[in-house]
Subunit: 430 residues, 2 copies
């Protein structure tokens, strides 16, 4: 499903000396042992999600009980922010070309932005829409404010008929769970040890994806297969990459994901959250640590960011993500010769997919020539299985780097103070 | 129009020592003199664009000559990449709420991505569409390949009637200019010394914006006013910021633009290109230099990237960009009290704009408490004038930093090799 290649220590340019690659067998063993212990400790439940039945069973039950509604909606509106929206959005954008993806508008109410709110709800009417409110804590300020707005706008609590258009996904026993029970609103739960940015394979992702018509069993199967292979020591490149990135973080403190297709736009955003929020932490000794994620789209960002990678300060590693071009033979670049414009004839008659693939390879070569560490993930075919594997790969990679950096990759204490200040500001002004 | 505040050297937390701020009067004078010399040298024509009439006159002439078409199209399709699309897209996204913005779909063909091409053109028919091909050099591989695709798909060269739906914007005497003249296709030109990423106030931005109904005179007026004030030494903060960012680049090598409204989404991308591609360069002595841009959207990215800013390695400066909330009093958060969910009642009855503004201020305070340098740009009202000023501010700032870094902020030599490798690859395979 996925092909992995690393170019961390080889440089095609002999004049450049790469940083020492201190990956020895002992380091691999230490890391593998640590990640096994972490999985068994259940500090985070993400390892277990591909093996669980809860998300599938709960979602199937909900859909069965609301079959008439879920089969007839035109709009699925997710009210949720951060980990409650990024993963779902990423998967839908990568897979929306699949023929069985239903013709439902997936919309996200995540901006508390006056201009955006009106735009998002402009064409949304109650009778053809389902609102899913997603908040792990059940107390996210943006989510609850936006929920109140739609409660009022669509009079969602008016009667049982209206309530049918509302559904909650939240932590077991959260305030939102209790409110849902009190008001008889369909409420699905997730376990507390599933962090928001690791939650896309829980009900948070599974229920909406199932409503949209995706094959979620295959999504979990792809994730399960990758996880199983990793713990059978069949994906050693992942351990090597985690060690390389961590050991060289003083020099290469920025990690770029350079994705060669516009369908990865939202996956890029998911990666940025996962990497940034998981790894930007104080370590056990109180030192600020972390690796900075940046995500780009090729070939577009060859015309924007590439110059900085090639000639700017050498502080970045680049992971290329691309699709195997063989799966996409159409459309083709017409074989037209235009006077004065013959310098572009060399791609005449080729597929756009081949152009994109060759652009990715050429860009990678240029970057490698500068001695910049790169690696490459190639997806054979864009479907639920390969995306499940890709998600699992990144979640395990992040947790491995977290282990080496000696941090907790599953909390986000740095954002709490802002919430307190915000409350004070409003209380003062009243 | 714009309010600027800096918090580079003050820290609200006494325990943190900020980097020395070596901004003295002499440094300001040296930089100002250098930037005046650069403007007069005309190495880049961007300084002059707000004072020129060419873009407005050429665009008016084109629209007059094609009045029936430009007044009746449903789709305006821009075939262009990088500097040929980012600026226009940024302005349209920031201003699309203006009531006189015409109901025309603005689409961009910039991805050579098989999945994206089909999606973009799905509902596009010839008779209600105008295709504008934008390429400075006239030889951009993505742009010309996509142009050939639409030439064939819509048979655009068939006769004069079809040709009317096609228009070029390119450098004077470029291959595309010559081809346009040969085939009698409307071709507008820009001067060679206008780089792509500095071109939004040239015909490249002005013609499409005029077709969309925007008041482009006010856009240029806003830019002109800011430029005039700067050269009258009435915007000294810009010089101080350029010196601060440059002098402290070893420690703070990442510059974040944290924009608090979804309307800045595409402006963020424009900033990333401008900053990254202009400043990532070899200096006069061959040393790799540069500053890395990252762009975020608030409050969304408080749930994604903020943790890394607060507790990750202290290597980032943060520029906040926001709208004055007074201009947006609606919609409001309903005054609803829900059992178990009272922890969010503190914003009941307030506007979403106030919530967003207070989130921006709270986040800025948290970051400042960590001793991280911040500054804040507040836009009073989102209109052509303020956006013209914002664009000019960023272009002048970038050129000032380029001066101090001792680099050419207007070329992009690092991306040339990739183009050569690409051609070789295709020629080999044939």
């Amino acid at each position: 499903m996925l092909k992995f290649k690393e170019y961390f220590t080889k440089s095609s340019s002999s004049k450049i000396v790469l940083p020492e690659n201190s990956i020895n067998k002992e380091a691999l063993e230490t890391l593998f042992k640590a990640i096994c212990e972490e999985r068994d400790s259940k500090i985070s439940g993400f390892h277990n999600l591909p093996y669980e039945k809860k998300a599938i069973l709960d979602s199937k039950k909900y859909i069965r009980e609301n079959i008439h509604l879920t089969q007839n909606i035109d709009n699925l509106i997710i009210i949720g922010i951060g980990g409650s929206s990024l993963g779902l959005k990423a998967i839908d954008t990568m897979l929306s070309h699949l023929p069985y993806r239903k013709n439902i508008n997936l919309k996200f109410l995540e901006h508390t932005d006056p201009i955006k709110i009106e735009k998002s709800l402009k064409k949304v009417r109650l009778n053809n829409s389902l609102f899913i409110v997603i908040s792990k804590s059940g107390t996210t300020i943006e989510t609850l404010s936006l929920m109140k707005y739609v409660l009022k706008r669509y009079d969602l609590l008016k009667n049982d008929k209206n309530k049918q258009h509302l559904c909650f996904i939240t932590d077991i026993n959260s305030p939102l769970h209790k409110f849902g029970n009190l008001k008889h609103i369909a409420t699905l739960t997730i376990n507390k040890n599933i962090g928001g940015r690791y939650s896309v394979l829980s009900t948070i992702g599974i229920l909406p994806l199932m409503i949209l018509g995706y094959d979620v069993e295959n999504l979990l199967l792809g994730a399960r297969k990758f996880s199983t292979r990793f713990f059978q020591r069949k994906e050693e490149h992942l351990l090597r990459k985690a060690i390389f990135l961590s050991n060289n973080r003083e020099k290469f403190h920025i990690n770029i994901l350079f994705s060669y297709s516009s369908v990865f736009k939202d996956f890029n955003a998911w990666y940025v959250q996962l990497w940034g929020e998981s790894l930007g932490k104080l370590n056990s000794f109180g030192k600020k640590t972390g690796l900075t994620p940046i995500a780009l789209i090729g070939s577009i960002d060859q015309h924007s960011f590439l110059q900085l990678i090639v000639q700017g300060v050498m502080d970045k590693t680049i992971t290329f993500l691309s699709l195997e071009q063989k799966s996409y033979i159409n459309p083709k670049i017409p074989n037209i010769r235009l006077k004065f414009l013959d310098s572009c004839n060399f791609v005449n008659g080729e597929s756009f997919a081949l152009l994109l693939q060759q652009q990715q390879i050429s860009t990678m070569e240029v970057i490698q020539k500068e001695g910049i560490p790169t690696d490459h993930i190639e997806i054979k075919k864009l479907n639920e299985k390969s995306i499940g594997a890709l998600i699992m790969y990144y979640e395990i990679l992040t947790s491995c780097v977290g282990k080496i950096l000696d941090i907790n990759a599953y909390d986000q204490p740095g954002v709490e103070l802002g919430k307190k200040i915000l409350i004070t500001k409003f209380k003062k002004s009243k």
